[in-house]
Symmetry: C2
Subunit: 402 residues, 2 copies
């Protein structure tokens, strides 16, 4: 089983410092989970992740159900053994992927029928089946099967999805067979605070080992996400871990923690890394930029990661331009270090009772670097939001797994 | 400068155990050099290479001249600093790449005019320019600029190329300015033993720090390569290192060492790794094969590499099928470990005076595994030769760098 222990709560707010204890190690929270959709964070080994300080990663049930198949993983002794990852694992139930990746997705109360995004083959996933798959995969934390609707949607449609998500959550809770896995419920409700509250209260009445806030960071304004957290978190039991799904950019982590979130996952550090978008304490570095061609300095002079202590921007620029695999790997290693460091700083600030000032300084620093930053003024989420909006316009969710 | 010291010579043949001392460390010979054409072995960092025991790698002057430019590398303090590789480096002069990769290649006595394979831009490389480029790149060992002809070619054409290669070698020797780099001459001569002898004698009369045998492993039969080595090596001074360029498969290393070769380079461990061809003590494993889908065993039960001690064939099979970068990296790490181990075994056998029996057992083991091997009977070079022949038929050399 998974235990959650809160060590300290910020006096001025909802931020808290905790420990998630699992059969595969203890995770200091707030924590960020790197995403390894197909059983690997792209280009990064379990040894790398451990060296970076990660103790909990996310794998995607949808992807692993399709390839290599949850039965194959189960036969190999489960995900930990199959992927040689000694730390803890959380599996996303596949709900989000079914709605964002799969073709011809048909939802009934029974479950979802969809076509694989790979070969068009037909699949049927019910809440019971989602539990079966995740129990076969064998993660430490598994997620209830939820219905995700794109934003904005009509209130009626969002309400329907919330009701169905919660009915499914009840069925997930009833269907689970393994007692050694924690099951988290997922609060849906779009951008409607009332729906969020209603969804949260109902889920809590069922009772889960932890609670996730889902369906956000799909193209809405940051302020909407913040309002949804402000509405939802107070409804969740303070003794259980809270997980903001698929989020996000560095500032989203800080703001999520301030609103009482303990866990995050996002493809941003790895996916942005592969596009040459590198996070630094003073803004982003877009390594493909010609100005780095002869730049002997590290990505971030203030960073102590294995990449910044060994390689120059000029070399990383070269690797990126010639499309060398090592470049993708090094960029990802740096970004994952940045995220690990950021959550470490957040945890320390909460421990020391200085989270409020940490948060203020974090934002002030970013606001101040316009003009003095290494690259463009920091406008972190700009590109992301644009892409997400484009996807939203087509009535599809932005694929989140990778 | 680079010094070469022979510690032991096999009593029954030409195999020898030596040490190549450079400003960037000592290399135990016989040694194999991983190929990092663009300043990186694909997907593998300098830290990985060091852990694998490599102390000397090859970079390609042709590729680095085009991208990022030898001037950029020089400004960054040379290849060692630019790529963060603390070990020794040998740069190929670019001769082979100009003839195998470039478009519209026109050769005169003055030099070669060719179009970049990247953007069609026009370039002119003379022996003097090849020295200038390699001195800017700053490797420990640099190569004379040579003319490579595809095999088979008319004797007249091969003779012309040999004469020109040696005139160019003389100009390279005269043009070099740095005394801290070793310069190796390259023996050409196609598949004609007499031409090889003539080329070698002439080169030796010029005098080089080491001697390479070039223009082999371009599609000819193994026996031809062996005859060329048998003819050439006795003409080379025993006190200088001998380098068989672009070779090869594991059995080629054993046979090359038996014929007095000290150094090898080849893309095979990395390139084959990326295609899922894994070397083992009892034959090859083609990891994409469906039989590995549920195989819990390591690539090679007898192997102690970081991949075999951590990952199953089932996981590597999965990573390969879903095209995950980590799979390419792990496959390459395993193959590079295999090559490092093989050369280590070769060195030990020479030290212990048992190289003749080692060689016999090496081949006997491979011959015996037909039918009992993990995968198909070992027919290592089969595919390679076929591909090379196809390339040869078109009058082009098989591109060797990667």
């Amino acid at each position: 089983m998974v235990g959650f222990f809160i060590q300290k709560t910020d006096l001025n707010g909802l931020a808290r410092r905790g420990e998630l204890r699992t059969a595969h190690g203890t995770i200091e929270t707030p924590a960020f989970m790197p995403v390894g959709s197909l059983g690997t964070v792209k280009g990064i080994g379990p040894d790398d992740l451990q060296r970076l300080g990660y103790r909990l990663i996310l794998n995607n049930a949808y992807h692993l159900y399709l390839r290599p198949g949850h039965d194959v993983v189960a036969e190999q002794g489960g995900l930990h053994r199959f992927t040689s990852w000694p730390g803890a694992i959380l599996t996303d139930s596949g709900g989000f992927q079914v709605f964002s990746l799969a073709k011809l997705c048909k939802v009934t109360d029974e479950g979802v029928t969809f076509q694989s995004h790979l070969d068009g083959s037909l699949h049927h996933i019910t809440p019971e089946r989602a539990m079966e798959i995740q129990e076969a995969l064998g993660a430490d934390i598994i997620m209830a099967f939820d219905e995700c609707v794109p934003l904005p949607s009509l209130r009626e449609k969002v309400l329907d999805a919330v009701m169905r998500t919660n009915r499914w959550a009840r069925r997930c809770q009833a269907a689970r067979r393994r007692s050694d896995q924690a099951l988290f419920g997922i609060v849906q409700g779009g951008r409607d605070p009332e729906l969020r509250v209603q969804a949260a209260r109902d889920l809590v009445s069922i009772g889960f080992d932890g609670y996730a806030v889902g369906g956000l960071s799909v193209g809405e304004e940051k302020s909407v996400m913040h309002r949804m957290l402000d509405a939802t978190v107070p409804e969740l039991p303070s003794t259980r871990p809270r997980y903001l799904m698929g989020v996000g950019m560095p500032e989203d982590l800080v703001e999520g923690v301030a609103r009482g979130i303990d866990l995050f996952d996002c493809v941003v550090p790895s996916r942005h890394g592969r596009t040459g978008w590198l996070f630094t304490s003073s803004g982003r570095v877009l390594i493909k930029n010609a100005r780095y061609r002869r730049d002997e300095g590290p990505i971030d002079p203030a960073c102590r990661c294995s990449v910044c202590t060994s390689y120059s921007r000029a070399y990383l620029h070269h690797l990126f331009l010639v499309k060398e695999m090592l470049g993708l790997r090094l960029n990802t290693l740096h970004n994952l270090f940045y995220y690990a460091s950021l959550t470490q700083e957040i945890r320390r600030a909460i421990e020391e009772g200085t989270f409020a000032s940490f948060r203020q300084e974090f934002h002030a620093k970013r606001a101040s670097v316009a003009g003095m930053t290494i690259d463009d003024p920091f406008d972190g989420e700009g590109e992301n939001v644009t892409v997400a909006r484009g996807e939203r316009a087509s009535g599809k969710l932005l694929p989140r797994g990778e």
